[in-house]
């Protein structure tokens, strides 16, 4: 189910938005970068004669290092100098960063479609005894769901229980106030982008197994925006639930409505659903209430 995949990308968005108030357009490009780094290093190591498990571990470490480097560069050269600018400027800056990441990742790692084989992609048949045919469950989806669950649990603990997590929440509330009580804002932003990068890496492993690592990943990542709207910009569980709603909803809509109005409605269904949610509940299903002051 593609819902889990949307959730994974949306998670990265939520993390950065929660911790820095930046609407990170570059999340899709980060998934691409992480995926390319992983799959290319994996291919290289396997061709050099490493056993598969060692290649996987080394590839993951390499991709994680790349994401750390990206986080550092973004913080140092893009967001650092833009502290205290308004959200729109920061948003545009992340679009600029997106272009750079897309360019660099394809330049360095190549721009073809690279298949990634980390998880099994065959299917189980459940309840075959109960009714004929049973239910087809893709193993990859189970893996994706499992990973998403672990990620959410881990992130929840990280945000609620650790010192850094608490500092992150303080920064999200107010940059200047957080700085004035002695929270090193540049370090915090680095951590956030690093975590978002690692989430991107996880998303890339699942997406890459399903679709192959390719440029179109960045477009699919745009689907994470309506997911965020539905789930709420600031809620991690919201990202997961929103992703599942969008993923299931667009398939159902395609199946039931598609034949009547020409097909291909998967393309916009998520956005229109988000629009409807916005009209009824602007903060999303799980978002914090938006309070306005003068």
């Amino acid at each position: 189910m593609s819902g889990v995949l949307y959730s994974l990308v949306a998670l990265g968005f939520v993390l950065i938005f929660k911790a820095s108030g930046v609407f990170n357009f570059a999340q899709g490009a980060m998934v691409l970068l992480a995926g390319l780094a992983l799959v290319r290093s994996l291919d290289l190591l396997v061709s050099k004669g490493f056993p598969f498990w060692a290649a996987v571990i080394l590839g993951l470490v390499f991709a994680a290092l790349i994401m750390a480097l990206t986080a550092w560069l973004v913080e140092r050269f893009v967001l650092g100098p833009l502290v205290n600018q308004d959200g729109l400027t920061l948003f545009m800056a992340t679009i600029g960063a997106t272009f750079v990441m897309e360019g660099v990742s394809q330049w360095v790692f190549g721009s073809d479609v690279y298949p990634l084989r980390l998880f099994p992609t065959d299917a189980w048949f459940l309840f075959e005894g109960s009714f004929p045919g049973g239910i087809l469950v893709n193993k990859l989806d189970v893996w994706g769901g499992l990973i998403a669950g672990i990620l959410v649990a881990g992130l929840a603990v990280f945000f609620q229980r650790t010192k850094t997590g608490r500092a992150l929440r303080a920064v999200a509330d107010d940059h200047a106030a957080a700085q004035s009580v002695g929270i090193p804002i540049s370090w915090i932003w680095f951590v956030v982008w690093l975590v978002a990068g690692l989430v991107a890496l996880v998303a890339a492993t699942v997406w890459g197994t399903k679709l192959g690592v390719q440029f179109s990943i960045t477009f699919l990542a745009l689907k994470a925006l309506p997911v965020l709207i539905i789930g709420g910009f600031t809620s991690i569980p919201g990202a997961i639930v929103g992703g599942l709603i969008v993923g299931a909803g667009e398939k159902i809509a395609e199946g039931f409505l598609g034949p009547h109005i020409g097909g291909g409605i998967e393309y916009w269904f998520a956005y229109v659903l988000a629009l409807a949610v916005l009209l009824v509940r602007p903060q999303g299903l799980f978002g914090e209430r938006i309070i306005e002051r003068i």
């Binding site: 679009i95 750079v100 745009l222």
Partner: protein
């Protein structure tokens, strides 16, 4: 020395409130318009380099003018009224396709009776195309009364993807063209057949001049001040007696109208024949870039931003060839991405208020030059 308003006395309120209160500004504008309206066509007519080739007119000046016009529309919404929109491409598409339908005749079969409109003149269909775009703009502007900022951006993204799909999948809009691409009707403006690059350029220039003047006056007047009040703090504006419903929806209407007209021009005059891909999400992002790089809340900035965004890729394309670097085309594309992205970041860091701010800084400096006291 040159740029100083000393001695230019204003004796009435109207003179004080003029668009360009300083004489030097007026002179510059008149000169620019003279060059644009008379100079460029003349140079081009007599084939004087670099105006001799069609390339400059067709591939640079024409898109520059139309994108500037679209950027003015986007700037009214984003820069003046503060409503972030990622759906400008869709509104361009609506303008283009409505103008196309109106220009080739509309026929809506409704079972018992049919609605038929004969093919309208091109000018009228372009202007009415903008009108259709304004109506849709108002519809998609309604959520802006409840939501703002990035939430609104996603709502406009819905417009973008929805209309991409509509123009791709509903064959009625393309007059059942099998390939999905449509051709502009004959560009006959009351007997003036617009065909050569010079004609096309002049036509766009006229549109841009009229709309730029209109927009400039709108944003200086009552309604423009309402927009800016909403942008700066909507709750405070509401308390002061500005109706957010009226202010926001007029901003959406005016903005989508101008963007729609620009879309119709882009399709009819620049492209000639087009597909929905001409107005996809990248177009919206490009317009947003133009506005932000040029300067939010500045009409002049739209032109500067459009020029920059348009020239940069051309420049990047030419440079490696010019200095003799044998680069693979793939590499050039990727390098273009990288340089473009880094330049955007750099500009945002150095001057978050865009080129328009640089110009006004330069003016301040010039006023004191060469004696800084």
């Amino acid at each position: 020395m040159l740029y100083r308003e000393t001695g230019q006395y204003k004796t009435d309120y109207a003179a004080d409130m003029a668009i360009f209160p300083i004489r030097q500004d007026r002179l510059t504008l008149v000169l620019l318009l003279a060059v644009a309206f008379v100079g460029v066509p003349l140079l081009s007519y007599f084939h004087i380099w670099p105006f001799g080739q069609d390339y400059l007119l067709r591939a640079i000046l024409l898109p520059f003018l139309i994108l500037s016009l679209a950027a003015i529309g986007v700037n009214i919404l984003v820069g003046y009224c503060g409503q972030l929109s990622l759906g400008s491409g869709a509104f361009m598409a609506i303008g283009a396709y409505s103008a196309y339908k109106l220009g080739t005749g509309v026929h809506i079969p409704l079972g018992l009776f049919n609605i038929s409109i004969p093919a309208l003149p091109v000018l009228l269909s372009i202007l009415l195309g903008g009108f259709m775009s304004a109506i849709v703009g108002i519809l998609f502007g309604i959520p802006s009364l409840r939501i703002k900022g990035l939430y609104l951006a996603v709502a406009t993204l819905a417009a973008q993807f929805f209309f991409d799909w509509v123009f791709l999948r509903v064959p009625w809009f393309t007059n059942y063209a099998p390939s999905g691409s449509v051709n502009a009707p004959r560009l006959d403006f009351f007997g003036w057949l617009v065909a050569t690059p010079i004609d096309r350029y002049l036509l766009c220039l006229m549109f841009v001049t009229v709309f730029a003047l209109l927009a400039k006056n709108l944003v200086r007047g009552n309604i423009g001040r309402q927009w800016m009040a909403i942008r700066d703090m909507d709750i405070a504006a509401e308390l002061m007696g500005i109706r957010p419903l009226y202010a926001k929806l007029t901003a959406f209407a005016v903005s989508s109208y101008i963007v729609g007209v620009a879309g119709a021009l882009w399709a009819f005059i620049y492209l000639g024949s087009w597909e929905p891909q001409a107005f996809d999400i990248n177009r919206s992002l490009q317009l947003l870039f133009i506005v932000i790089i040029g300067g939010l809340g500045s009409i002049l900035g739209c032109f500067l931003g459009a020029g920059f965004i348009l020239m940069l890729p051309i420049f990047l394309n030419q440079v490696p060839a010019a200095i003799g670097l044998p680069l693979h085309t793939d590499t050039i594309t990727h390098l273009e991405f990288i340089i473009f992205g880094s330049l955007i970041c750099y500009l945002l860091i150095k001057e978050p208020h865009g080129f328009a701010r640089l110009i006004s800084l330069a003016k301040e400096k010039l006023r004191l030059w060469p004696y800084p006291y």
